[in-house]
Subunit: 314 residues, 2 copies
């Protein structure tokens, strides 16, 4: 498999991207060939310094970079030689099997939606976050920000996409699904939650366990928690702030350390035809490595194919 | 001033309510006369045991109790001799100046809306939560659950109500107001947040400082943070769960201890004609004491009058 990595994306690129490549290759991954996309003059010396075996990668030159604060649509259109534009072109033409970037998030979203597109039947591709739990396992919360206003059927689709991710990537058998809500019983919540509950309950592909309140987010009762992207994004950033508080207050706790969401690398866009992973702008080496591992898992498990099958059935 | 307290409300009533009365009186409060409402036979012996000076209170007998899980409207209608029904009757007829209960939350809401009513011009009374901050101050988040679906003008009113609370109860001069959102700039967010931003920005009574993201909730940049009650309730309960996690993991930190929201006592209903405070079902003595202190502050500061004036002006 060929995994494309934008070497120019993120606040600490290309150095941290190179570190991520080095970390990834250190574990050995004979089936992976990395396609590194970036400014040859900036990247090649770093790869050489890091003594990365050239047989493991192909470096593709990109003469342009999309800055973190550029207008996504405009930048993608005008900078056809940028690492992000080239990455999507390679993905669309089948020359890479997955594309990863910690660059301009908006440009990554626009590129995803306009080049590789949503899987047929998926109304709204979505992004998620892993939720660390005290027993060492991970749950999944989605949507965490790209779908701020949702209809009930969007949340149902997030539940299906999240369940497939939980099954094939988190390796959870028959993953449980919860609806983020503000009460325990059916009928509680805002209009969206009230309308979504019965749809989740009746859905043949879902193992729905009912409502999950704010206090239950870190609880193992639901493997997949669905909500619209507004609340999900607030939850994600608030959880991140708890990690920051713990660090600032010098609290040492191995569970709270897992609230360092940046270490997870990035979020895959679920519901699109090929694996795309969008990294945090502040990604460091470990985050880049984790994103490559995730791309590898998504390709190996054929997650997009499983999504395609589930949405054809619906 | 006369403060009414439901002695039968909450999981640990009446004993913890009596403890709260004792704690409150221990600090001396010459201007407060407590009107205790409950089953005389259950409450009187506890008051005697606690050696509470009878000159500080009047005990009003209530022969009925509304259970924590009874249907609010039905229970209030059918149990006219319940402590909650009597409390609202006393408040409505001016025999008490504030009413506090840790009993059935739904019955407290119904009683509030149908007996004492909203202040003219207030479309949706609201409930809030104090937000502890690392510098020792408190912010205010509202709504936290009774208004799950909101229009932009509701959020603007919450901002006005919250600002008045911050000014008169938290004693903050010219309190800052933030809009809970999922991006920093104007134009970000869901449809509600996008439509609310310009209204907050233009409002003559508000010191609006822009969007506040999930990671900024515990940050002192906004004294008052507004959102609809769905997200607010998720945030509140999630913050409570962090306290539970810290306790469970034996993390000792004085800031995280302040995430014990139960210790604050309860939430005042803002925007109604008289102070009403709704306590947590699991309120203990310290929570009851804190609720009495809050009622005293709300009466002494004439908060409802200030709200009335602000809403007449609008």
């Amino acid at each position: 498999m060929r995994i494309g990595l934008d070497m120019m994306g993120g606040d600490f690129a290309p150095l941290e991207a190179v570190k991520g490549v080095k970390l990834f290759l250190a574990n050995g991954a004979a089936d992976v060939h990395l396609v590194l996309i970036g400014d040859e003059q900036a990247v090649q010396p770093l790869l050489a310094d890091a003594r990365i075996d050239p047989s493991n990668y192909t470096l593709i030159h990109a003469s342009q970079v999309i800055g973190m604060h550029e207008h996504p649509t405009k930048a993608l259109k005008e900078k056809q030689q940028s690492s992000i534009a080239i990455g999507f072109h390679l993905l669309q033409s089948g020359k890479i099997d997955a594309f990863i970037s910690a660059g301009n998030t908006g440009a990554m979203m626009v590129g995803t939606f306009y080049s590789i597109k949503a899987i047929e039947g998926v109304q709204r591709p979505t992004i998620s976050t892993p939720i660390p739990r005290e027993d060492g396992s991970y749950g999944l919360l989605l949507d965490v920000g790209i779908n701020a206003d949702c209809k009930p059927e969007n949340l149902v689709q997030f539940a299906v996409l999240g369940s497939l991710y939980a099954k094939y990537i988190l390796r959870r058998d028959n993953p449980t699904v919860g609806l983020l809500n503000i009460g325990e019983e059916e009928g509680k919540g805002n209009l969206l939650a009230q309308a979504t509950y019965p749809l989740l309950k009746e859905h043949p592909l879902l193992n729905f366990v009912g409502n999950v309140e704010g206090r239950d987010i870190f609880d193992p009762r639901a493997d997949v928690i669905v909500c619209e992207g507004f609340t999900g994004n607030v939850v994600l950033k608030m959880a991140e702030s708890f990690h920051d508080i713990a660090v600032r207050r010098n609290i040492k706790d191995e569970y709270l350390e897992q609230f360092d969401f940046e270490s997870y690398g990035g979020t895959p866009v679920l519901g699109v035809s090929h694996p795309v992973i969008i990294g945090h702008g502040i990604s460091k080496g470990i985050a880049f490595k984790n994103m490559i591992v995730l791309a590898q898992q998504m390709i190996a498990s054929k997650l997009p194919d499983h999504i395609r099958e589930s949405f054809v059935k619906q």
